[in-house]
Amino acid sequence: MSDTFEPKIVAFLCNWCSYRAADLAGTSRIKYEPNVRMIRVMCSGRVDPTFVLKAFALGADGVMIAGCHPGECHYLEQNYKAMRRYHLLRHTLRSMGMEENRVRLQWASAAEGAQLAVAINDMIEKVRALGPLNWSSNWNENGHRLEALEKMAQEHAEAMEVPA
């Protein structure tokens, strides 16, 4: 293991703009770091907040939602819905103690391969600076849980030997 932390970023990209932007970046040989796992969705409006929460719960360090610029949605209005969801989600995640830079809404048109690559690299850098999220460690009870359970079973067993 190298000692630089390599963040895992999950990116949801819309089929019509940002996924094509990522494609364009690829065919134009524009480099972005390999930390990002891309998932193609038909529209940024298809990104249910559940997807984002699930990505974090399963170990993502950051999540990007990318779609067409406002006014350019293939389905007319859905990226505005994505925008409102993102703002509500960010407000909620903030209240859960999650750092702001771990979730990002990015507009990228099909022609903006270079801009998308810059945004991805920028996000990776910011998440790297934050360090690992490892969210599920938040609920691994680190106290003396198992020990206490065993002790209790043992005490009860001893008490059973005394006639009631």
């Binding site: 249910d48 907040p49 559940t50 984002v52 929460l53 699930k54 974090f56 719960a57 406002p70 505005y80 819905k81 925008m83 409102r84 969801r85 703002h87 509500l88 989600l89 407000h91 909620t92 903030r94 209240s95 859960m96 103690g97 999650m98 969210w135 460690s137 938040n138 609920w139 009870e141 680190n142 106290g143 003396h144 849980r145 206490a148 359970l149 002790k151 209790m152 079973a153 005490e155 009860h156 008490a159 059973m160 009631a164």
Partner: protein, 341 residues
């Protein structure tokens, strides 16, 4: 011993309301006593844990378990009753989703102890004592349960067969569920494991208010307006959770002019209640401007955790707020004005 099937009722991190709800089935409680041999029910009968420990595994037919798992004693009892019961029912929102006790997952154990035993204005504790699991006295060591950082739901602790939603479940639903389980024990087919014994529709489906797909620019808090009794409360600006919540209560709260706060948990097929609410509210906010959207949200929903996860934080995908890293302090600061002591 009679030949009747055995029933156990137990409470863990709960308010006691679920036990009262069982009594609210009125004279049918006598029928329950006719149908079952009640072997454990701390609120009503004198039975000892030792008696339960002596029973063979699987010898209790049904256990109705209310409350979440806050400490090691509750986890011990959950495991014990799981082993002894053929059918384990998570009874009520606390066992199902963590409910109000699960909102303490917004804090760590240390923060909870700090407030409850030291900072709360009603506490007089000059020595600053907090409970410790092992305490030495001349006679030996005293043990009390270990308090967990994170409240767990029943199904995050042991496998659960059925869920009965609601805070607390309604009397009719309790009675229907008890009859279904009794019939199942007599040979009728039981619903598949994991079934939530309740409605498959949302509270909105049961609500008689008129909806016009109106969008809103301002969210109101319940004390800010007196809503009219005919239009959808959400369209009047109140955050009504009916849209994400499993029905079965007959839209009890909107009927009395109060928004649904989500006590029946997420509707069938919804994994995370808060995510569903976020999706729903995103469709009613009347703005395409990021700054204005932020303003509407921050003014109208100062406490997103308590609004979107009032009953389901412990059972949500993220289960709790971030522990450690100094975020606990920031979290305290984020408590909306008027909510702190």
């Amino acid at each position: 011993m009679t030949g009747k099937p055995k029933l156990a009722l137990y409470w863990a991190a709960s308010c006691g309301g679920c036990d009262i709800a069982v009594l609210a089935i009125d004279d049918k409680i006598l029928e329950v006593a006719n149908l079952f041999d009640i072997v454990l029910w701390p609120v009503a009968i004198d039975a000892k844990v030792r008696d339960i420990e002596r029973l063979a595994d699987g010898s209790i037919d049904v256990c109705l378990f209310n409350g979440g798992i806050r400490n090691s004693e509750q986890e011990y009892m959950a495991r014990l009753l799981r082993a002894k019961a053929k059918v384990l029912v998570a009874f009520g929102s606390c066992a199902h989703e963590g409910c109000i006790p699960g909102l303490a997952n917004a804090n760590s154990r240390d923060e909870i102890f700090q407030y409850v035993y030291k900072d709360s204005p009603s506490v007089d504790n000059p020595q600053g004592l907090v409970p410790v699991p092992d305490f030495e006295v001349p006679e030996g060591t005293l043990h009390i349960p270990v308090f967990y950082d994170t409240l767990k739901t029943l199904d995050q602790t042991v496998p659960v067969d059925y869920y009965l939603p609601g805070c607390p479940p309604e009397a009719e639903n309790i009675w229907t569920a008890v009859q279904a389980v009794a019939a199942g024990l007599a040979g009728a087919p039981l619903p598949p494991t994991g079934t939530v014994l309740g409605a498959q529709t949302t509270v909105c489906d049961e609500c008689k208010r008129t909806r016009t797909e109106k969008k809103i620019k301002v969210f109101k808090r319940v004390w800010e307006i007196l809503p009219n009794e005919t239009e959808c409360l959400l369209e009047q600006g109140l955050v009504c959770c009916g849209i994400a919540t499993r029905g079965g209560c007959g839209a009890l709260c909107p009927v009395v002019n109060s928004p649904c706060i989500g006590c029946h948990g997420p509707n069938e097929g919804v994994q995370d209640f808060g995510a569903r609410m976020i999706s729903a509210l995103a469709s009613v906010i009347d703005s395409d401007n990021p700054a204005e959207i932020d303003h509407i949200i921050e003014q109208g929903i100062p406490d997103p955790l308590g609004t979107f996860y009032r009953f389901s934080l412990a059972h949500s995908l993220l289960r709790r707020t971030k522990l450690g890293n100094g975020n606990g302090a920031a979290q305290h600061a984020a408590v909306p004005a008027g909510r702190t002591a």
